[in-house]
């Protein structure tokens, strides 16, 4: 498939256990994408996706027979490397969202997203970019703030993500933080670019860099952060 065609009308696969929700998403995406299939549980999803190799899979985080992360990992195992995943969910625990991202999803948006915004997000993911909703931006800021918190004794029971700032252990650059904060404040990429006087392309590269760090670096520390969040 050529890059042009991908950008114009990406082939999309839907995974969600609610038929009603799949129907709603299909209606919202309309003619802007080509729906190549849908599944309501992880096993069938892995099978169909590796068979049809869509450009983008819209993925529910929570499902019977394994969550979104299981689908991503299953497809990767059978070699669907070109398939990109976008997590789409109502409101999930941070550890699940981070889990799906770390399994390989290119972004996370909440189901409150508007139709045109969803189309935009699908196109962005199809083109290889990352898509951060305000919520995901918040999770990432939280996770990296925790990671860069200075050491010190504390009660193990009172586990809370520790907000602190330590430039030496900083995992994100100052600019990346700035970008994430603006996303968390509800700015679109375009508004964000205007605000920081940079191009949308630069914004995208910052977000992708953050996604890469989220997926590849400090793996054990992120897992620990997620585990601690679960205690809340």
């Amino acid at each position: 498939m050529s890059a042009d065609r991908t950008a114009a009308r990406p082939r999309v696969f839907l995974v969600d256990d609610h038929a009603l929700f799949r129907a709603g998403v299909k209606a919202e995406l309309g003619d802007h994408v080509e729906i190549v299939g849908e599944a309501d549980e992880a096993g069938a999803a892995v099978e169909l996706i590796s068979e049809r190799l869509p450009d983008v899979v819209l993925l529910d985080v929570h499902m019977p027979g394994g969550g979104g992360a299981a689908v991503v990992e299953g497809v990767r195992r059978v070699g669907g490397d070109g398939v990109r995943f976008l997590a789409l969910s109502v409101s999930d625990a941070p550890e699940d969202v981070i889990g799906v991202i770390r399994a390989g999803a290119r972004g996370y948006v909440t189901k409150t997203i508007s139709g045109p915004e969803l189309v935009d997000a699908v196109r962005r993911v199809a083109g290889g970019d990352a898509v951060f909703s305000p919520r995901l931006a918040g999770f990432v800021l939280d996770a990296f703030a925790e990671l860069s918190a200075p050491g010190g004794g504390g009660a193990a029971g009172a586990a809370l993500p520790a907000p602190s700032f330590d430039p030496e252990l900083d995992q994100l650059t100052a600019r990346e933080r700035e970008v994430l904060r603006l996303i968390a404040r509800g700015y679109s990429y375009k508004e964000l670019a205007q605000e920081l006087s940079i191009s949308v392309k630069t914004v995208e590269s910052h977000v992708s860099a953050v996604l890469r760090k989220l997926q590849l670096s400090t793996r054990h520390q992120l897992t620990r952060w997620a585990a601690e969040r679960r205690l809340d």
């Binding site: 919520r135 193990a156 904060r181 509800g186």
Partner: protein
């Protein structure tokens, strides 16, 4: 207290009832306070009634006729009695006559409420005298005991002349007092109980009123919203849920409804509460993102209140469907951003009397040592940015499980 005169007078002359009561007690000690009290009872109308007892008495010809008739009957009886030479009766006859006639008029022309009050206060005395009282035996016993004590006291007093012992009169006095206590004790008790009961009733009424206000502020508002959005089942369910949560919190967890009661909350919980409140009362969707957390202190509570005001403003005026609320706690301070993509406004064009913006947000943040910046333009949405530096404030990271992180 008896006729509620002091309270009524106090309302008349716009003074504190306690002051009036103290003045009356002082007057009573001087000598004419009781007279003034009775006169005031006659001439100050009962609250909620247009005229007083005296004016009603004058306008009541039948009452006056009854009084005159009674006057003649009692007068005649007195004449007959005095004819037998019982001198002490005639010595107090004139004042007795006037008193009886006056009482008849007062009784007839006091309002039903007042009659009920006086009847209630006097009932034990009436019980004492009436033979049909259910606790007749107890009363008889009490009377007997009182009489015995009286007699004993009197004998002791009279015996003083013969014996000359100085302690005797004192003992007699004590006995008389004991007799008075036995005779009137239950009545006093009853008065005291009534007073307590009245106070409790008033407390209950106040509680009910407060509850009514709260239910109005929350439940009725929500019901109104539900009626307006009856076409949108999702929204109706959300409103109902939010209301239920709030009501339960108030009923069973003793948390105030819709109030700014954010004690014992973490910062993130307080922000979440803003989301719940604004979504419940204004129907706009609020998307919150909170990074970091800490305990609330006085300054942060103020900041939360400013943030709530900004969110409510956005929900009310912007016309935007979604309001973004981002809050972050880090080592250097706390920041909050309330953003909408609605109609926006000219920031400098806001008139001075718009309290919300100038007082609740800017003024509050300035008082707390922080700042509020407002960015908006017509058609380009609005963003309120609140910042509070936390130099000396230890952040929650002090208690974080950092030690476990190897």
């Amino acid at each position: 207290m008896l006729g509620g005169v002091c309270g009524a007078l106090a309302r008349r002359i716009h003074k504190d009832p306690t002051v009036v009561r103290v003045a009356f007690v002082v007057f009573a000690l001087v000598g004419f306070g009781v007279t003034v009290y009775v006169l005031a009872w006659l001439f100050v109308p009962l609250e909620g009634e247009p005229d007083n007892i005296a004016s009603r008495a004058i306008a009541d010809p039948r009452g006056i006729a009854v009084a005159i008739a009674l006057l003649t009957v009692v007068g005649l009886a007195l004449v007959i009695v005095s004819a037998f030479g019982v001198s002490w009766v005639s010595s107090m006859s004139s004042s007795l006559l006037i008193a009886v006639a006056g009482l008849v008029l007062v009784w007839r022309d006091s309002s039903p409420r007042e009659q009920e009050q006086v009847r209630h206060v006097l009932r034990p005395v009436a019980d004492l005298l009436s033979v049909s009282s259910p606790s007749r035996r107890a009363i008889a016993f009490r009377l007997l005991l009182a009489a015995g004590l009286f007699v004993g006291g009197l004998v002791a007093l009279l015996a003083h002349h013969q014996t000359g012992v100085s302690l005797r009169p004192l003992a007699g006095l004590l006995l008389v007092m004991a007799g008075v206590v036995v005779l009137f004790g239950p009545w006093w008790l009853r008065l005291a109980r009534d007073l307590v009961g009245e106070r409790q009733a008033r407390a209950r009424a106040e509680e009910r009123e407060e509850m009514a206000i709260r239910l109005h502020d929350s439940v009725l508002q929500t019901l109104a919203l539900i009626q307006r959005k009856s076409g949108d089942p999702v929204e109706v369910v959300r409103l109902a849920r939010a209301q239920e949560r709030e009501l339960r919190a108030w009923l069973f967890e003793d948390k105030a409804i819709g109030s700014s009661d954010v004690d014992d909350l973490l910062f993130s919980e307080a922000v979440r509460r803003i989301q719940q409140e604004v979504e419940a009362t204004h129907g706009a969707k609020v998307e919150i993102v909170v990074v970091g957390d800490c305990e609330l202190d006085e300054a942060l509570r103020g900041m939360i209140a400013a943030g709530r005001e900004a969110t409510v403003n956005a929900a009310k005026w912007s016309g935007a469907e979604v309001i973004s609320l981002f809050a972050e706690v880090d080592g250097s301070g706390v920041s909050m951003f309330v953003r909408d993509t609605g109609v926006g406004f000219v920031v400098d064009g806001v008139p001075e009397d718009r309290k919300g913006l100038s007082d609740s947000i800017r003024g509050r943040m300035a008082r707390l040592g922080g700042e509020a910046r407002i960015r908006s333009a017509p058609g380009a949405g609005t963003e309120v940015a609140l910042a509070l530096p936390r130099g000396s404030q230890p952040s929650r990271s002090a208690q974080s499980p950092a030690g476990r992180r190897g």
